[in-house]
């Protein structure tokens, strides 16, 4: 069953269990024990200490960049990241001779005084103290405590091995084995499985019964249980003609719209689906992905329409470059855009490359970002060939830097069809925009005006501090008491002008470079240079400066300030003129140039997003709320147009350099052409031609000669029909993954899959109409023997017992309690936080930054990373969910209180009804009896009466008799009246108590009645959650 797979994965992944060996340890286990003459064999703690504290940091800092595996460099053939590397040495021989520093090549090199040896490190000589450390270390025996790094096969060797690795072999359709004593089936799958079984003298399990088969089929294809009528009908048809009945059942389920929902969810594990982009860079910003659902809905449509898988791959990588029948399919590239934006830009790019390659090719290319892949034939260049593609692609509307993520960049794929909703949407947006603008203006406009008026002060501060050209120091800011971001903007403007000629600012730049104490002395020379330059500064301005006879930069600043004031005054005058049209500019070109600096967006005192943010700070709750309100209106409103979460080619498309050790500041000069990975592209990989190259990339993957694409997907599909895949690691078909036992079957399926037009639905049919899929999971003619020979069921001598994942479990509860809302597609719903949401689980709003506990409790994979397999754990919190969670309790109660249920006679026939409804079968008498125990025992004893009440009643009766016997007896009459009064008082008190009890009970959940307990018990049962 699943569990086995889980623990195999665990074992494989465990580096901690004694028997689960990492590659390193395996290697060492094969090697003989360390040679006795290695210097570290009997190292003293002091020597180890010295090595680690003094020598190792030096090696790392000064030598590793050219001589280590991590850097991917071994200049002169030498690596120094292990003792072996040093002892073996490079082209010139051993680098060290333990005990003999003077004759060690390393020492001779770092001393820089030996003509026979190249001086090292070549750029900068080590200090005498550093040389001394190495000398002392070698003389003391060169103790080296580093873990010997696993011998990493150089890339060439790996590439050589890859030539014979099973998954890289061209796909060929293997001959179908002959029928044998194990199977007479005509189905090829059964022949392949049967051949392996026969070899082990094992048999198939018998075919499962009809009820089991239909439940299994429903679980596999739609993730919901059949109704009891479905089961009855199928049993009948199955009796008549099992083959035909199965065919019809599978066809019917494949046509059901719930099929797409079930299979989209499988794909969403791999596609790391989330409705929040997540990541630190979006901290404090709105990082929701309001249109993530368009990708999910694309998946549902794709599965339902049996989109050929090759097309499915193409669309997810490059839908924007294909002609689409349905505009909504643009959202297919959400596959790329939906990934996390956590981490640096390079980490985002790496995530995209890795996810694409793991998903479609079963290759872990991400490893090659910092060095050649250590196990697979993926040299670093391959990674950077693909990096060029992703770096030339823009994820629309998920941009990490903007305060407000602008989803308007995402193309509209569907307008809201309800005109009233649309109107409401437009009104809401206008209102939210105005509210925000008004609020900002209140704070903002006075500031802007103030900053403009303060221009002379800003210029004055800049005139005092700008001479160093490095911009402003903190003290400058502190001294100025001016606005930090505005001052920064002025400073940046001037720095920019220093790099790019500006006729107005050029004189400022030139004069500000003069040292303050020699300003007057050098003024004329600078003036001359300005006049003789290739580009002419503004003549009028320059003349005014000269005429003012400035003695310092501050005097120059005054001239500028005057111009700014003049320009501003002229502009205000222009604005106050009463004309029809708003003025566009000033007629005086010099003044207009100054005005622009004051008013144009992006200029120092003008509005800019970062200045607005600074002006309000991050703590302005009111404004954050208004920003969020605007985003809500624009993108989350039910009347808002629906946009595709998608990608497009960037404006600039470029090949990527290689970043040495993955560090962007260590880019090589040469760039790697955008192309596919060499192992799959052949000896001479062709550069990608179309735009960013995504289309070429996708085409390369779906090329029929690609050996991986079909193998990877049929393996994934297989896993969801048997609980475990044929190849254990669905995302890693590399050299670390040995050839699967069922390799011929995998190849046959892959080739046939392509012949079937890459049809996933046809693949389901092939699998589900086979003997191997239909066999029993629980019965077998020689169960014990088979268990003994193949406990993991690798050979598939039976079907596996599987436990429903969280999604079908939750959906099934909704379905059998009659509460499932079968609406297909649409915006995500917060069903993890709202126990009353009745949509299928595939529509859950998933926040990858805040994963609900129930997801991890039920092994739903973490949506930050692509995950092709699910763990299966059985833990008590899962039981607690079914015992106590309000989702379960609410739905149980709804069923118990439904008209349908209440109309049933209140006896054990209700249990029958529930069994048919929930488990699609009749309850046995034993089961009925067991569950009946949860019903309250019928009460036959007389109602409990307050003893005082009884006593009083007796007294009244006696008094009444006495009175009747002697109606003239006044005492008897009085006594009777008194007693009657007491009776009345008692009644009033009783009623008051009952009322109080009722009030107390209000606010407390009404206790579950017996029927609710029965329903819940059936939902908790193993039979409900396991699929046989």
């Amino acid at each position: 069953m699943n569990l086995n797979k889980t623990f195999i994965t665990l074992l494989r992944n465990c580096g901690i269990l004694g028997f689960a060996l990492t590659c390193d340890t395996v290697l060492h286990a094969q090697e003989p024990s360390p040679k006795p003459d290695t210097p570290s064999a009997n190292a003293s703690p002091e020597d180890v200490e010295f090595f680690e504290a003094e020598v190792l940091p030096l090696l790392q800092k000064k030598c590793y960049s050219c001589h280590s595996h991590d850097a991917g460099k071994s200049k002169g053939g030498l690596v120094v990241d292990s003792q072996t590397g040093l002892l073996t040495g490079g082209e010139s021989g051993a680098a060290i001779d333990p005990g003999k520093a003077d004759s060690s090549l390393l020492i001779r090199a770092i001393r820089w005084d030996d003509n026979e040896v190249s001086p090292m490190p070549p750029e900068e000589q080590l200090s005498a103290a550093e040389v001394e450390i190495f000398t002392r270390w070698i003389n003391r025996g060169a103790v080296d405590s580093r873990q010997p790094t696993a011998a990493i096969a150089p890339m060439q060797e790996i590439q050589e091995q890859a030539k014979t690795h099973w998954s890289f072999q061209p796909l060929q359709k293997p001959a179908v084995p002959a029928a044998n004593q194990v199977t007479k089936s005509n189905n090829a799958l059964d022949r392949f499985i049967g051949e392996k079984l026969a070899a082990q003298q094992l048999l198939f399990a018998p075919q499962a019964d009809a009820a089991t088969l239909i439940r299994r089929a429903y679980f596999d294809l739609v993730g919901l249980p059949p109704s009891v009528d479905d089961v009855k009908r199928f049993e009948k048809a199955f009796d008549e003609n099992p083959e035909k009945a199965m065919q019809e059942l599978v066809d019917q389920l494949l046509e059901s719209p719930q099929y797409g929902e079930r299979w989209a969810r499988h794909w969403m594990d791999v596609a790391r689906y989330s409705d929040v982009s997540g990541g630190l860079r979006n901290q404090g910003r709105d990082d929701r992905l309001p249109f993530a659902f368009t990708y999910r809905d694309y998946l549902i449509r794709a599965f339902n329409s049996d989109k050929p898988y090759n097309r499915f791959v193409m669309e997810q990588i490059a839908a924007d470059q294909l002609s689409l029948d349905d505009k909504r399919d643009l959202a297919a590239t959400g596959f790329l855009a939906i990934g996390s934006v956590a981490g640096t830009e390079e980490e985002r790019i790496a995530e995209r490359i890795d996810t694409v390659m793991q998903t479609f090719q079963g290759l872990t290319v991400g490893c090659a970002r910092c060095h050649d892949h250590k196990f697979d034939p993926i040299p670093t260049e391959d990674y950077y060939a693909l990096r060029g593609v992703i770096a030339s692609t823009t994820e629309l509307g998920t941009g990490p830097r903007a305060e407000r993520v602008d989803h308007e960049l995402c193309p509209i794929i569907e307008e809201c069809s309800d005109p009233e909703l649309r109107k409401a949407y437009e009104e809401d947006v206008a209102k939210a925009e105005k509210e925000l603008r008004d609020y900002e203006d209140k704070v903002w406009l006075p500031k802007e005006e103030k900053w403009r008026k303060e221009t002379p002060q800003y210029l004055d501060v800049l005139a005092m501090t700008q001479k160093e050209r490095g911009g402003l120091s903190a003290t400058d800011y502190a001294r100025s008491r001016l606005d930090r971001s505005v001052l920064g903007a002025w400073s940046q403007l001037l720095q920019r002008a220093g790099r790019r000629f500006d006729p107005i600012l050029e004189p400022w730049i030139a004069f500000s470079r003069l040292p303050a104490e020699r300003f007057e002395e050098q003024f004329q020379r600078t003036l001359g240079k300005l006049n003789d330059g290739a580009k002419q500064p503004n003549a009028e301005l320059l003349k005014t400066i000269v005429d003012s006879q400035p003695k310092s930069m501050r005097d120059v600043a005054k001239v500028y300030s005057d111009y700014f004031a003049k320009a501003d005054a002229a502009w205000q005058a222009e604005l106050s003129k009463e004309t029809d049209k708003t003025p566009k500019e000033l007629s005086d070109p010099t003044l207009e140039a100054f005005r622009k600096i004051l008013y144009q967006p992006g200029m120092p005192p003008a509005r800019a997003e970062n200045k607005v943010r600074d002006a309000f700070g991050n703590n302005d709750r009111k404004r954050s709320d208004l920003v969020k309100k605007l985003q809500d209106a624009k993108f989350h409103h039910p009347g808002a147009p629906i946009r595709a979460l998608s990608v497009a080619d960037s404006d600039t498309i470029a090949d990527s350099p290689v970043f040495v050790r993955g560090e962007p500041d260590q880019a090589t000069k040469e760039r790697v052409p955008r192309r596919f990975v060499a192992i799959l592209a052949g000896a001479q990989p062709q550069p990608f031609k179309n735009g960013s190259g995504r289309l070429d990339w996708a085409e390369a993957m779906v090329d029929p000669s690609n050996p991986l694409t079909a193998r990877v997907i049929v393996n994934r599909v297989w896993q969801y029909h048997f609980g475990k895949p044929l190849v254990g690691s669905t995302g890693d078909f590399g050299l670390q993954t040995p050839q699967p036992v069922q390799a011929p079957l995998l190849d046959w399926l892959a080739v046939t899959f392509m012949e079937d037009g890459w049809s996933i639905k046809q693949l389901h049919r092939r699998i589900m109409l086979s003997q191997v899929w239909q066999q029993s999971s629980t019965e077998h003619p020689t169960f014990a023997t088979a268990m003994d020979k193949d406990p993991e069921n690798t050979l598939l001598w039976r079907q596996n017992v599987r436990r429903m994942e969280f999604e079908p479990l939750r959906d099934s509860i909704l379905a059998v309690t009659g509460n499932l809302d079968k609406t297909i597609a649409g915006r995500s719903v917060p069903l993890y936080s709202d126990a009353n949401v009745n949509r299928r689980t595939v529509y859950a709003l998933v926040d990858r930054t805040n994963i609900p506990t129930v997801m991890s409790t039920f092994d739903v994979p973490n949506p930050n990373l692509t995950q092709g397999e699910r763990f299966v754990s059985t833990v008590s919190p899962q039981a607690l969910f079914l015992m106590n969670n309000s989702f379960v309790l609410n739905n149980v109660r709804k069923l118990a209180r439904s008209e349908e249920f209440k109309s049933l006679p209140e006896d054990s026939s209700r249990i029958q009804w529930l069994y048919r409804r929930i488990l699609q079968r009749d309850a046995s008498s034993h089961e009925t009896e067991l569950l009946s125990r949860l019903l309250p025992v019928p009460k036959n004893e007389p109602a409990v009466i307050d003893p005082r009440e009884a006593e009083l009643a007796a007294q009244i009766q006696a008094a009444d008799e006495a009175y009747q016997a002697n109606p003239d007896n006044k005492a008897a009459k009085r006594r009777l009246e008194q007693l009657r009064k007491a009776e009345k008082a008692l009644l009033v008190a009783k009623e008051r108590k009952q009322k109080q009890a009722k009030e107390r009970a209000r606010g407390v959940s009404e206790p579950a009645d017996g029927w609710e307990k029965i329903i819940q018990t059936i939902l908790m049962s193993n039979e409900f959650v396991y699929v046989l």
């Binding site: 990541g279 015992m883 049962s1021």
Partner: protein
């Protein structure tokens, strides 16, 4: 590739022999060992007993690489970045130059308003804010040369909790539980108390979800989600589960070979027990009057510390206690006094308590925030309102118990306490050292994911031997 194929074979063989144990033999084992289900440690049964008996249950207690000094961890996470200059790192030069501008740091120097003095036989220097905790000075180790990568709360907190400032990576609590399994009877193995530790800071990321941290609630309402059914009384629920067990036994006849079906039956029994065990662990009133007096039960941090001790006592592997409010940009003196007052009382009580229960020697106590603070005043803060800004270049953490060298201060920052200068310890190094104390070589505690072996320390980390006892 020879080694890879070899590895594959080894794994295949191993997994075959490890799953040989059929249901019958597991039952047999239980009977022969003379242990009813109840006789075994609940931890063994908590999740999936049958798998566990095969030795490969993900939460089964596991052996470390070598004998661990510490068996469990409590980390008081001072969230916000506590000022090392006012708690741990005495800077007389800074006090001397108080009020003077500092060009490079762009601000005015701010000497600590708190006095430092040596405590205990060791003479470990601590600030006066540690009035009660200083009694334990000879058990305490302060690393004064810590550094981290980024001076932003979220990034630095993730670095401290997961070893990576941005990407989704497993938290150290998940790594430790993955490495050592659980000894908790009927409680989660990795518990988070207080606000702010949810999400990425206690995430299992790519490790199996079973290693995720569980947030328990000390303060009010339910201890954890789904622990109580408001619609059914405990005896009634027990009765209901008995009926369920009988139904499941019936169904088991259909699939007698499925160990997992039995495991799931068991999980309901344990779930039922958990409903009382978890609140019991939080029933602080059941502590002795003496203990209760030591902690300040009015104070939420103190309550968390006491609850943490009770959890550790019950076999919980890792407890993270989150304490927010250490981000003192303004009003540092007053606010530190209040914050440290509550921390000091809680921590002193915890240390005393752990000692009294004989647990300090194998419990690693960590008091650390995500970074420290600047020696200069927060720009714009004056007088009583003076505070400090974030500082990732140099800060301090305090450790005790579980194989830690007591009465020792490691490394140092520069004269003003801005940057670590001597024997710098990066957060990765702290992680490496924590794993060492728990019995792991940080380079070998790995998990294969996405084509490579991942570690808590990734490609970094160095064992800080000097702080080991």
């Amino acid at each position: 590739m020879q080694p890879t194929q070899h590895q594959g074979r080894v794994l295949r063989d191993t997994k075959l022999c490890n799953s040989q144990m059929t249901l019958a033999s597991r039952r047999d084992f239980l009977t022969r060992s003379g242990l009813g289900i109840g006789g075994l440690s609940l931890a063994y049964l908590l999740q999936s007993p049958s798998q566990l008996l095969a030795g490969d249950h993900p939460l089964a207690p596991k052996a470390a690489h070598f004998t661990p000094k510490a068996k469990r961890v409590i980390h008081v996470f001072l969230s916000g970045g506590p000022s090392h200059l006012d708690l741990f790192d005495p800077k007389p030069e800074l006090v001397k130059h108080d009020g003077k501008p500092h060009e490079e740091m762009r601000g005015v120097l701010f000497g600590s308003p708190f006095k430092f003095k040596p405590y205990g036989d060791s003479g470990l220097e601590l600030s006066e804010l540690w009035e009660r905790t200083s009694v334990h000075a000879d058990d305490l180790c302060v690393i004064r040369s810590m550094k981290t990568d980024v001076p932003a709360h979220q990034a630095a907190s993730r670095m401290l909790a997961t070893g990576h400032s941005q990407l989704s990576r497993p938290s150290y609590g998940s790594w430790i539980t993955y490495g050592l399994g659980s000894e908790a009877d009927d409680l989660p193995a990795f518990v988070v108390l207080g606000r702010g530790g949810q999400g990425q800071l206690s995430s299992s990321s790519f490790l199996p979800p079973v290693y995720q941290g569980t947030t328990l609630n000390v303060d009010r309402g339910d201890v954890m989600a789904d622990l109580r059914n408001p619609m059914i009384s405990a005896p009634d629920q027990k009765h209901q589960l008995d009926v369920l067990a009988s139904l499941n036994q019936e169904f088991l006849k259909k699939a007698p070979h499925e160990a997992e079906l039995e495991a799931r039956i068991q999980s309901f029994e344990l779930a039922y027990q958990m409903q009382s065990a978890a609140p019991e662990a939080f029933d602080l009133d059941s502590e002795s009057a003496e203990t209760l007096k030591m902690y300040d039960l009015e104070d939420s941090l103190s309550r968390s510390m006491l609850a943490a001790r009770r959890l550790l006592q019950r076999g919980v592997r890792v407890v993270q206690v989150f304490d927010g409010g250490w981000d003192h940009h303004q009003g540092l003196e007053t606010r530190m006094r209040a914050k440290a007052g509550s921390l000091d009382r809680g921590l002193a009580a915890l240390l005393h308590d752990l000692k009294a229960n004989g647990m300090l020697e194998d419990t690693l106590v960590i008091v650390a925030g995500e970074f420290g603070r600047t020696p200069v005043r927060q720009a714009g803060s004056v007088g009583e309102g003076m505070g400090r800004d974030h500082n990732h270049r140099g800060f301090s953490v305090m450790l005790a118990g579980g194989g830690i060298r007591g009465g020792y201060a490691h490394g140092s920052t520069d004269d003003f306490g801005r940057s670590a200068v001597d024997r710098e310890v990066h957060v990765h190094d702290l992680h490496a050292t924590m794993l060492h104390l728990l019995g792991f070589d940080h380079q070998k505690l790995t998990y294969h994911f996405s084509g490579r072996d991942y570690r808590l320390t990734d490609i970094h980390g160095r064992l800080v031997k000097e702080i080991l006892a």
